[in-house]
């Protein structure tokens, strides 16, 4: 019989990184305790998993690491409720269960050969980090065209993955534009919303696909800008968030129309979303 889908894989926290100035986003580096779990957990960027703490509960999080970063999983978690507060109190060595991988990844069958425009805002950048690391992997990089990343946050302290951002900006095989609404004294990069940067850079929609993750208001304006630039609806890829419990299309709460975000998503094209009720 197949593995019980409600049974988490046991893992341990290997490391914790505080990601932002107000210290409410932490990235947890997890390693499976059992080699069989590590072998079973085959994922692609864009997928998510349910993290599990016995006696506390479970919650779904996008996987922030790329499968090319072997040996561990990364999850960036903002402290907002009961589960995330408990998780934030944990230190390296603590045990965490992982259920997954769940959902559909970014369309890795369509992405090769394309120029990629990645637009992210706030802490929704997690699975975008996974996608970027995946594309940048030496074994993969040649399969993709140009890579343009636009990442915005409220202020410089809210930008996650500072070390990765610095590494990416030092490379010449991708272009990373960072922008903040409220710059501080030392800020030398863009100021304003991601759409201003996007419209200034004017990436061509020819042979290009855009991936957008962020807060609803950012998504709304990013879609308008991408539309103006000529990106077709099926060339815009989005990832949605919903309250979830089971993660396997049974508990009934994450649906948009007849689609379940947990199993039919969380990744949808703008075209697919337009065919669904706007209930998200």
């Amino acid at each position: 019989m197949a593995r019980n889908p409600y049974l988490p894989h046991p893992a341990r926290i290997e490391g914790v990184t505080v990601e932002n100035g107000v210290r409410d986003i932490k990235t947890f580096r997890l390693a499976f305790e059992d080699p069989a779990s590590a072998a079973a957990f085959q994922y692609l960027p864009g997928q998510f998993a349910e993290l599990s703490l016995p006696g506390v509960g479970e919650a779904p999080f996008g996987i922030a690491s790329s499968p090319t970063e072997a040996g561990h999983l990364l999850f960036s978690v903002k402290r907002v409720g009961l589960f995330t507060t408990e998780l934030h109190s944990l230190e390296p060595g603590a045990r965490v269960g992982v259920r997954g991988p769940m959902g559909k990844p970014f369309p890795w069958d369509r992405l090769p050969g394309k120029d990629l425009v990645i637009i992210g805002g706030g802490f929704a950048f997690a699975t975008l980090r996974a996608a970027i690391q995946y594309v940048l992997d030496p074994a993969n990089r040649a399969s993709f065209g140009s890579l343009l990343v636009i990442y915005g946050a409220r202020n410089p302290g809210e930008l996650m993955y500072r070390k990765d951002l610095a590494e990416w900006q030092a490379r010449d095989d991708l272009s990373v534009h960072l922008t903040v609404d409220e710059p501080d004294a030392g800020w030398t990069q863009h100021k304003g919303v991601v759409t201003t940067v996007l419209e200034g850079l004017k990436p061509t929609p020819r042979n290009a696909l855009a991936i957008v993750c962020g807060p609803p208001v950012m998504i709304r304006f990013a879609l308008l800008s991408l539309g103006k630039l000529g990106f077709a609806d099926d060339a815009i890829i989005l990832s949605l968030e919903m309250r979830m419990k089971c993660g396997i299309g049974k508990c009934g709460r994450c649906n948009i129309g007849s689609k379940y975000v947990c199993k039919d998503g969380p990744v949808f094209t703008r075209e697919e979303l337009k065919a669904l009720p706007a209930e998200y």
Partner: protein, 336 residues
Amino acid sequence: MTLKRISLTDLDRWLDRLRERGAVYAPGKDKAGETVLLGPSGREPAVLEYRNFSRSPKAFLLPQNQTLLCFNDGKAEEPPLPDEEVLLFGVRPCDARAILALDRVFLEGDPPDPYYTQARARTTVVALACSRPMASCFCTSVGGGPGDAAGADVRAVALGDDLLLESQGPRGEALLAFAADLLAEATPAMVDEAQKQVRAVEGQVAPVNAEKSAERLRKAYDSPLWQAVAQKCLGCGTCSFLCPTCHCFDITDEMRNGTGRRVRTWDCCAYPLFTLHGSGHNPRPTAKERWRQRMMHKFRYAVENYEQLFCVGCGRCIRHCPVGMDLRTVLKEVGA
């Protein structure tokens, strides 16, 4: 198909014999005088004069509270599951049909649900044809009928002093073979009589316009009707809890002194918390969106996903709603 008959005077003896193969739940009076599916402890004479149970038998397959995992020393383990055979005798055809809807989600879904699958494999259902439909019944409009055998392993029809038993598959065959010495061969006349009786009862079930509901609901997503009908909804969830096809659930943890469990509990789309995000955003913020979801799920989304209505016309949500909400009105008005 095996056709058998049993005299009603032998019915209790037969059910008693069937207790040798596992638990038998049969209709009997509870302490409040209501007819319910009484469990192994209540060896009362089976009662056949009932219309339907107030609670659907879905809890036998999807318990209201079910342990998914046990926690010991921070380790999650699968709970031991009962392996006893269970016979549900006297389930009404609407409720038997509802099991097929649950099957689509829990048995055939990818991945299948291990707990439901295990419970389903050890449960045998005998559906008893209805002789007196209620005013709120509308099974004939949603694909079923008072003599429908869908979802049942054996269909039973009461004919005077006899019960006609028809197996519907291997599990039904096995049941009828277990205490076969108490059963007699059915006559062709009985089969004709049963058909005639079912036809007559079908005519007593008031029709509801559920034709092309998926198509009509697709066009009515933004209808002002939702606001109007949802206004009096209290969001109490009675409809969901009594509905034989409603299956949405919550998962929560219980912990005391280092041991505990992860438990799944029936949940309901009428509750604001059902869809509330951690950020405070709620994609279904008011009763309007939540009631629309309930209707859409049963009469449109289920059709789109499974080509099957997730309503069997049992009428419980109509009979038991404290404010008299009636989905038949919506079905009639939507897209009309």
